[in-house]
Subunit: 352 residues, 2 copies
DNA sequence: TTGTACGCGTTATCAT
DNA sequence: ATGATAACGCGTACAA
């Protein structure tokens, strides 16, 4: 069942059928509706393979993932991100191909050959953890359109959450609820993500006239185990040095901290406030429920998709960096508004 | 940069270059290596678009998802499943396209047109929640290859976990640890998933000579809220009727139950044992950590991919149903082995 | 407004 | 072993 069959049935040339399908203005409305009728009747669908070859476009974009690296963020929000990308692409009749990068053992299966040089995809979206500098350079050298999910150094358009604003929101919230000695769990100094988030955290402290202590940031991974370990260490500090609130880099770190507090008999939120980046499905169900910074990963995907589509339309589009605002979800791991006043005075009096 | 450019550079016909690329035996090793040299030197990669048209195959398989329906299972394990599928496909040089089903408003973008009739993909993988009976019939009528993730009624090959065995494992574990009056949270009678799991649960009870009470299964959604509500209701039963252990359909239901137990001052695992299907990342970090049934979703994806590939190879392959064994992860929400003896006697003595 | 002829880049068939 | 030529199915100038 090809376009020729339709042409034969309609007693026209196949080029006419093609024009009808592509809604060319150079064909009469009468023949259009007549041929559409035949197309529907014969249940014809153009071969995308042939169309793609003729139009020299795959109408397909690739999403690069790294299966080897457990990238918790992507891992967790993958479904939403993909959903967002998909919904942006489907509008413009693009499809989404998922591809694992890296086959260290078989370089011939590298995505660069499989997808890019191949022209199997018209553009690429990838997380900044897979978009290394040299990789970006290579793609830029090929003038191949791509977008990063997450801030990146190279001259590339990207979408990300405003992590600085997020750090500020969490710290400002804790200060507003009367906490005065804030700590930050956990991360490595050189991570971009940490730098941004801690920057916002420090800014909120500075705005409140409080010192932004370097030691406020406890090093370590942002997982449950190190949240627990750091938590015990912190809670065992002498009363005068012990922080009364913590901003956690992840829900997992907060879980660990929660466990440590429970073991040490420290009341949350009374004696210790906890607020965390991200908002995992179980965060409403911890004891107490966790105050979190929710990030809309679906919209993140939409933004990435739309940005790439724009770039496909206009290859000379100037670089764009889109930042999405996170949203504070206040639950019970931070003191309530009413409690803040009384608690705050008492707490700060005792601590300082 | 086309195959013709290589042919010109090598002073041969393009058909010869094509044969070299496809490693045809009808070309001398000498010219092979000579032309491969030129290919590498000129950095040539065949256009997949042209290859696909000529070979009449997209070398692409589609994964159908439903963004509108919050299908918790897929949602949560999406990354792993995709990873598994991808790793199976890459071996055979297939790519994976993700596609959202349903555009109720625009039927012309239905995946049936976009992917199947189009021949944009050579085969399909989908969860049983999207593979409705009529949809299966339609695909079968087209003789289009596809695999279901999750058991399905239609004559279709599928992969799934052995839910019956899972129900049995959880119940048998509770019995082995001395619990005697088991309940089952939660689910609807007509759900296939529930039927299988509860079947295994009931079988374990029967094997232990215990009645498999119909009322053992408390109806409701398998989420945290209903786990909590059902939990309170159950814990408030008179001592003689109150179950001393529960198998939960999901981690979330278990969280709710855990919360209810804490509020009623019921000790877990001493006074109440809890074991749940699935093993979410936070289940080791609840208080107490949750005894779970781990399912290897990556392998599930691999199986689905491999099964589809086999079907692509041999369209007349007989139907296959592959069941993967779940794995019991014993944590602290069920009594320890040593405690089981003593507790069991006391408990059963009190209860019966 | 419709039809003709060729191009898209590759593979496959059949001569040589 | 190699080369010429015809598919593959569709899009599109250009001619009619």
């Amino acid at each position: 069942m090809t376009i020729q069959d339709i042409a034969d049935a309609a007693q026209v040339a196949k080029s006419t059928v093609s024009k009808v399908i592509n809604d060319s203005p150079k064909v009469s409305d009468q023949t259009k509706s007549r041929i559409w009728g035949i197309i529907r009747e014969m249940n014809y669908t153009p071969s995308s393979l042939a169309t793609q070859l003729a139009k020299q476009t795959s109408r397909n974009i690739g999403l690069l993932i790294d299966l080897s690296r457990e990238h918790e963020f992507l891992d967790h929000f993958f479904f939403n991100i993909i959903g967002g990308i998909e919904s942006a692409l489907v509008e413009r009749k693009y499809e989404l191909t998922i591809s694992n990068i890296q086959q260290p053992d078989r370089p011939e299966q590298h995505f660069m050959k499989r997808l890019v040089l191949n022209r199997r995809v018209d553009g690429l979206i990838a997380n900044n953890s897979v978009l290394t500098e040299p990789l970006c350079e290579e793609l830029l050298a090929h003038r191949f359109p791509f977008i990063s999910i997450g801030e990146v150094q190279s001259p590339v358009s990207w979408v990300d959450f405003d992590n600085e604003a997020g750090g500020h929101m969490l710290a400002a919230h804790l200060l507003e609820r009367g906490y005065r000695r804030l700590a930050f769990f956990a991360g490595e100094r050189d991570e971009k993500l940490f730098v941004r988030r801690f920057g916002g955290f420090a800014r909120a402290l500075a705005e409140a006239g409080l010192p932004a202590p370097d030691e406020a940031a406890l090093r370590g991974l942002a997982d449950t185990d190190s949240g627990y370990a750091l938590g015990l260490r912190m809670l065992d500090l002498p009363a005068g040095e012990r922080p009364d609130a913590v901003v956690c880099m992840s829900n997992y770190a907060a879980f660990g901290l929660l466990k440590a507090a429970r073991e040490r008999g420290v009341d949350v939120p009374g004696g210790l406030g906890i607020a965390a980046f991200d908002d995992y499905p179980m965060s409403p169900y911890t004891t107490p429920p966790l105050t979190c910074l929710k990030i809309d990963t679906f919209t993140l995907g939409v933004s990435a998709g739309e940005l790439l589509l724009e770039q496909l339309r206009d290859p000379d589009m100037p670089l764009q960096k889109r930042m999405l605002e996170p949203q504070l979800i206040v639950r019970e791991s931070t003191r309530s508004e009413t409690a803040a006043g009384g608690q705050a005075v008492g707490s700060s009096a005792a601590d300082f």
